[in-house]
């Protein structure tokens, strides 16, 4: 179920973004701009040999285990699914946002995830004979539904408490600025018609609403807020490629 987005990523939208990104580079935004581009630009960088390898985007698991990540990704994918053919939480990489957040600002929730995800897999084994991520979408939905009704007696905490935490963070990760690791390729903002961050909004632009051409930028693509020092590109090789 989680693989169908791959075709989406190779769709026309990506080509358009590639040319936009290259244009940005040519405009003299330079490495500062390029380095801060979001995950969607990874493929562009691969096609542009002059750009140092640091641009390559990776997604490490920073605190979640592989099994936790798989269970969480499956749960996020049912909260905000993509089986209608449009991207959802999986495509937005909400789980990547959560993993990163749990090491820092959301660290207080780490234990809740450990307990909740383990219980989710245990319960999935009981009722379906497989880990949660390997169950069918219908099976997953019925488990989540039971969770939201506090109808899983074995669950070690209130099911609604765990569900609400995951739901909140799924939304945060899907619709956040892509800098934080989710909303990959701006799929979240596209889903709700948010035309993106910009420094100024004129009455004419505002009146266009969701018909306004999306800005397709992170706050940290905007020069005043970048954390890279402004200077020659040669001074900037070798930086970390945090999974944006």
């Amino acid at each position: 179920m989680n693989n169908k987005n791959k075709t989406h990523e190779k769709g026309d939208g990506n080509t358009e973004q590639a040319s936009l990104s290259r244009r940005n580079l040519l405009k003299g935004v330079g490495l500062t701009g390029a380095a801060l581009m979001t995950a969607g630009s990874a493929s562009v960088m691969a096609q542009t040999p002059a750009i140092p390898a640091r641009i390559r985007v990776t997604e490490a698991l920073e605190t979640l285990t592989a099994a936790e990540s798989a269970a969480l990704d499956a749960m996020c994918s049912r909260i905000l699914p993509s089986d209608d053919g449009t991207p959802g939480a999986h495509e937005a990489r909400a789980v990547h946002y959560i993993d990163r957040g749990l090491t820092s600002a959301m660290a207080a929730s780490r234990e809740q995830y450990a307990v909740g995800l383990a219980a989710l897999d245990t319960y999935a084994m009981q009722v379906g004979g497989k880990e949660f991520c390997l169950l069918t979408a219908d099976q997953q939905d019925s488990i989540i539904d039971a969770m939201t009704r506090n109808a899983i007696p074995e669950f070690p905490m209130l099911g609604t408490a765990f569900f609400n935490t995951v739901r909140t963070h799924t939304i945060d990760g899907t619709f956040s600025d892509p800098y934080y690791g989710g909303n990959r390729d701006f799929v979240g903002w596209d889903l709700i018609g948010y035309p993106g961050v910009r420094a100024v909004s004129s009455p004419g632009e505002i009146s266009q609403g969701r018909a306004l051409a999306p800005s397709r930028q992170s706050a940290y693509d905007m020069p005043p807020y970048t954390k890279d020092p402004v200077g020659p590109a040669s001074a900037q090789t070798g930086g970390a490629s945090h999974g944006h």
Binding site: I79, F175, S176, G193, Y194, A199, I206
Partner: protein, 568 residues
Amino acid sequence: MATELPRTDVVVIGLGAVGGVAVLPLVNAGLNVIGLEAGGWMTTRDFAPDEVRNNLRDWPQAVPKAKNEIPTSRANINFEAVQGGGHPMMNGVGGTSLHYWAQSWRLNPWDFKTVSETTRRYGAHRIPEDSTVEDWPISYADLEPWYDRVEYALGVSGNAGNINGTRQPNGNPFEGPRSRAYPMPGLRSSGFTDMMSEAARQLGWQPFQGPAAINSEVYGDRPGCFYHGFCDRGGCHVAAKSSTAVTTIPEALKSGLLKVVTHARVLKIVNDADGRATGVEYLSGNQVIFQPADAVLLASHTYENTRLLLLSKSREFANGLANNRGQVGQHYLSHHQGAPVIALFPRNLNNWYGLPAQGVAIDEWADDNFDHSDLDFIGGGNLWVHTDRKPISAAKMSTFDLVPNWGAKWKAFISENADRTNGSYIQKTTLPYRGNYLDLDPFVKDRLGFPVIRITGEHRQNELRIAAFTQDRMEEWYRAAGAAQIVRTALGGPMGASTHAYGGTRMGDNPETNVTDRFGFAHEVKNLGVLGASVMGTSGARNPTLTAQALAWRTAQHLVDNWDTITR
């Protein structure tokens, strides 16, 4: 042992919304001023359009102190107080004026004279029996010149409703007389606010764009608002928001008489055997420093004003500075600004940008602007709707009980409706009551080991009745504008920590029931002035900051004009 620094004329504790204003009249009078601020300077580079940092993570770079001092709260003494929610305070030069909505209202005249006006019009029995409300020791007219000064020094945009008694067409018909117009016209309208204004007029109401400490056009060397949509809990990326960090503080610094000490964490106000304040002890890094001064102005937030007084114990003030009559922490109230009505419209509202201060106000149902003869409450609420929508909060919109809150149906619902919802902001008259107060929490401490503030308080019948009444009016307004669905939220209950926090050092002539006198100086400590909403005894139905700033300027000027009698 504290390191003692050379004496100065005035030390101001906190360079936020009120301390940042007070320094200007002090240096204008030639006084040497030291401003102690727990945070540091921030620049426009810190103010990225970032919903995660501003709205989810509570400004992690600017709350190292405030985050460790989040008050605990409980409804009444039958509960244990718990700490929770965000921090209501801020650390940084400019304080909460960096990130507030900047709605800069004057209170209406009734708010100053709630007891006498209610008694005159309806009888004394209409004052809620358990309330400790008093008339303010000053009237709207007394404060008018100070409102005016602050509006021009900061830069407040708005449309006047009443200039010297003459009604003006585009402003608040219920405002008290102003001596002149605002320095700038109100912020521009939007398609959504135009639609709501039209609906209000159909109901026979008088809508107007509310006032804001945000430039609507170039003011001095700062530009007009860019309307980019990240003003809510966000610092301004172009300095169009008139925080004290870009207005009165830089102006005061030009004199050379103001010294800003950042990252200074005040521990206590010290007093002598005569009961006068002698200076302030603070922590800088790991060093304790004593700053002697002839006068001290306590200008933190309501919670920290109260806490610092309670922590400043001495032989002369065993229960905390200026608290020998037990009034520090009393008459506390958290503004009742919750219980909104939320609407769903059948079309997009184009509300993705703009700002909370770009809105339409209805004042018909606030204060005593309508007849309460047949009602069971006094006061009322100001109705406010505004532009501004950000993606995470948009996706968290109410489902109006139309769909589940997860799964495919929910996804389709938010995809269609994210830009079709609007939540109202209804600020309600809130009164002080017996049993609602601040004290030091007996269990919860900050990282230095000092107790945090404990809030004991709940909204009472008067507030809940206003909430129900104003929800009716709000629903009427939304329906008139074509709303298809309406959700009403709970009417109120416990008073949690709030940015709109009042009392604790109430101002009044009677020292038995008030900490500070009519000029904001402590009855028991004559050279200690208190600035902020902690001196206010009623909330009114609108944001407190401009009133707190006008009072701060007035208190500072009183110190200047009475220097010898206050400091000798």
